[in-house]
């Protein structure tokens, strides 16, 4: 016979005013197995908890019910108290008679509240009788982190984790880290030069001995769970031996072929063997294999001849490396929506219609024009430039529904850069709303207007066309209610920020969620903004949605601090609410395996003494199982059950109804 104690809380008057707690306790004492009951003013108070502990010891209770507030409030409190009194904490259950009774049934006669409290407590008692003592699951933690994506967010995360004394692997798919920020000229709101603040960080990441850089690499496969991930990384062939290359650049010098530079957004060309930009980290060139005639048809080879240390190997193959890590930070960033989608703006057809990112390159002192604003068609300095905001953003029909958040700010920045670089030039900006929420952001935009003379027009542009070597912009100024036409020399489109191509594939590999726009989902947008629902995987930066550099960096640091917190203990304890398979009855139909949203179920083979496989069984990986119970309902032979929510427990509660 179980020995159960029932403690009914009055919560001051919160419960007692509509529930007769004495009566509840009294009724409960009549049930078989209940050996102790009482009611008390504040169960969660120190005296209340003391009383609970005392009662457990004195009455040798093997189960405890506290009928009080929501378990979301004080379940932890009472389980801790029970544990202190020597009881298994999972033998303590809460009945919610406050949020579910006294606060929602205002009957002053206390009749309804009391009846319902009695029912609920009885159901919990029956359930408790079938509880089994459970132990928190302990998982060892591998104290090494993986950061995917070497933009500013990823670099920051890697640096902070290394700073905290843990090893980090930073995987970047391009030949250099730096991400989109490496392309920017000067950056709002402080207008410091992007390279000047980014390059030191990139170099630091390269030199820090706790950080292993895998550039030109991608994550292929992720297995395991928090504390114990196994990751396979494809290191794409650079055709250059990284360890021996001195970064002298002779090979690049001698390469006779040029192609469009993606880094410069096709504004200029680069060699077939190249580093994306001069400050690349690591400063090791890679051969663009599809464009190299040597690799394609064995013609050329000039670079290999030029290379002093002989580190070029045209036969080099991709390598797969396997790493074991305890936590993963995803910081894969964003890309821009293809402007060609907006035929009315002429991008791709009219040379002098460019994207905001291309403008960054024009304004950058390391860019193709050395920082002079010259239009692509004929290299002239444009005397009037029209900036069009919200291109593709806030456009449900042809673009994305959300606001890209940074383009109002960088457009204001562009007008400033332009007015500083081209004296007498006039900037026009077509906008719908100006979104400049942030410290000193509004002031920044006002400065562009009031000090640098940008002409802001509230309205969208309908179309852009070429006429006599100029670009005509036709739009509206809704404030004056007029149609507007501007003959300009150049047009800059503030293109929507969208998720990376392949973001969904990576998410599926990692088992993390993403939204309709393929941005990754945070656990909770306000309270757990850098965690995912998959324990041990964290997020940072624009892979979650548009944001600027300050925010991306803050998130990189936040993710790093989460990783360091995880690594601060050698083992992690987890709630023991996981599934278990009944090995006797499982008939290996794998219904559970396909149902489990976390891939927590594995196939286990049972072997006879000779080592022949005699049968298969489902096996739950407790580290991965999150305790949702989907598998339990899926299993037709009732061979899998969920600890803490077993069929037996649930039926007991139903039967006590």
């Amino acid at each position: 016979m179980p020995r159960i104690g029932v403690f009914v809380c009055q919560c001051g008057n919160n419960i007692a005013s509509t529930v007769d707690t004495k009566k509840v306790a009294g009724e409960m004492s009549k049930l078989p197995g209940v050996v102790f009951t009482c009611d008390y003013k504040f169960m969660c108070s120190s005296p209340g908890q003391e009383m609970l502990k005392q009662a457990i010891k004195e009455n040798k209770l093997d189960g405890v019910i506290v009928s009080a507030c929501s378990p979301h409030m004080h379940e932890k409190t009472f389980r801790k108290a029970s544990e202190a009194a020597g009881l298994n904490p999972y033998q303590c259950e809460i009945t919610n008679i406050r949020e579910q009774c006294s606060w929602v049934h205002h009957d002053k006669t206390r009749a309804t509240g009391t009846v319902k409290s009695i029912d609920l407590t009885r159901m919990t008692i029956e359930r408790l009788k079938r509880n089994k003592p459970l132990k928190k699951i302990k998982i060892p933690v591998r104290k090494k982190a993986l950061v995917i994506g070497g933009g500013i967010a990823g670099i920051q995360a890697a640096l902070d984790i290394a700073e905290g004394g843990r090893d980090v692997i930073l995987v970047e798919k391009e030949p250099s880290i730096g991400g989109n920020m490496a392309r920017l000229s000067e950056t709002f709101p402080t207008m410091d030069c992007s390279q000047c603040i980014l390059t030191p960080k990139m170099v630091e990441a390269e030199l820090n001995e706790r950080i292993t850089l895998y550039t030109y690499s991608e994550v292929e496969k992720v297995d395991g769970y928090i504390g114990n991930f196994t990751v396979q990384i494809r290191r794409k062939s650079k055709y250059v031996d990284e360890d021996r290359c001195t970064g002298c650049g002779e090979c690049i010098e001698k390469c006779p072929f040029k192609v469009e530079s993606q880094f410069e957004l096709n504004l200029t060309k680069r060699k077939v063997i190249y580093t994306p930009f001069p400050q690349s980290v690591p400063n090791v060139p890679v051969i663009d294999a599809p464009n190299c005639p040597k690799i394609q048809k064995d013609k050329c080879g000039a670079c290999a001849i030029a290379c002093g240390p002989k580190c070029i190997d045209f036969k080099m193959q991709d390598k797969i490396v396997t790493e074991e890590v305890g936590a993963i930070v995803v910081a894969t960033g964003y890309q821009l929506m293809p402007n060609e989608r907006f035929g009315e703006y002429g991008y791709g057809r009219i040379k002098d219609v460019i994207s905001g990112m291309q403008f960054e390159r024009l304004a950058s002192s390391s860019g193709p024009t050395g920082g002079e604003i010259r239009r692509p068609s004929d290299g002239k300095v444009p005397q009037s430039v029209v900036f069009i905001q919200c291109v593709g953003s806030r456009d449900e029909k042809k673009g994305v529904s959300y606001c890209s958040k940074v383009c109002c700010m960088y457009t204001a920045k562009h007008t400033m850069l332009y007015s500083h670089k081209v004296h007498g030039g006039q900037a026009y900006v077509f906008y719908m709303d100006i979104r400049s929420g942030g410290k000193r952001y509004e002031e920044f935009v006002r400065k562009a207007i009031e000090h640098d003379n940008a002409m802001y027009l509230r309205g969208r542009v309908s179309r852009v066309y070429e006429k006599d070597g100029r670009v005509v912009v036709q739009g509206a100024d809704t404030l004056s209610g007029s149609q507007v036409e501007i003959e300009a020399d150049m047009v800059v489109l503030a293109t929507a920020i969208v998720s990376r191509e392949g973001a969904d594939t990576l998410a599926q590999r990692l088992g993390i969620g993403y939204d309709k726009d393929k941005f990754y989902n945070e656990y909770h947008p306000k309270l757990r903004p850098v965690e995912t629902v998959t324990a041990g995987i964290f997020l940072a930066g624009t892979c979650m949605g548009p944001m600027d550099i300050p925010e991306s960096v803050a998130q990189g640091s936040a993710a790093a601090s989460k990783v360091l917190a995880l690594f601060s203990a050698d083992e992690m304890a987890r709630e023991p609410i996981t599934s278990v398979v009944n090995r006797a009855t499982c008939n290996a139909c794998w219904d559970c395996l396909t149902a489990c949203p976390y891939s927590a179920i594995e196939r286990e083979s049972v072997k006879d003494r000779q080592g022949n496989i005699v049968r298969w069984l489902a096996k739950v990986n407790e580290g991965v199982c999150q305790g949702c119970g989907v598998c339990v309902a899926a299993c037709r032979s009732k061979s899998i059950d969920l600890r803490g929510y077993t069929d037996e427990q649930v039926y007991a509660a139903i039967n006590a109804f």
């Binding site: 969620g513 949702c628 989907v630 969920l642």
Partner: protein, 140 residues
């Protein structure tokens, strides 16, 4: 009887409590980690044990704490509805809904509406007898 998930609907009901909203007292909640945990037999058992109506509620599709548990639940219901009809349970006694942690008002409305509808239908007798019958059979 209401089967609700721990993360959304249970929290939604808590919020109704903390907001001191009032609703019909006839509901008895059983908390489960996820609607995906709900076995169709739970519902049949609930009817056997005298429930006049059953409500199942979890997170909104797409919001599931366990990523896709509620999709499983939803998929299961499709086949399950037929079964219920087959065994003679009036589908008006069985309600499915999504209530998020912030939708206290929805929870209150839901309970009120469901209770009222079930009251209109009167007590559910066909199943209540079953348990006793079986007990008697066993004895006899």
């Amino acid at each position: 009887m209401a089967f609700v998930c721990n993360w959304c609907t249970y929290a939604g009901a808590d919020l109704a409590g903390t907001s001191r909203m009032e609703y019909r007292p006839n509901v008895r909640i059983i908390k489960l980690p996820c609607t995906g945990r709900i076995d169709p037999l739970f519902i049949i058992k609930a009817f056997e044990n005298g429930a006049d109506g059953v409500l199942v509620s979890g997170c909104h599709p797409g919001d599931c704490h366990y990523t896709t548990g509620n999709y499983h639940a939803r998929r299961r219901w499709i086949g399950f509805k037929n079964l219920m009809e087959f065994v003679g349970i009036d589908m008006r006694r069985l309600h499915f809904s999504w209530v998020s942690a912030s939708e206290a008002i929805k929870w209150v409305d839901l309970i009120n509406n469901v209770t009222d509808e079930i009251k209109r239908l009167g007590p559910f007798m066909e199943y209540k007898g079953l348990k006793e019958n079986r007990a008697e059979q066993r004895k006899g």
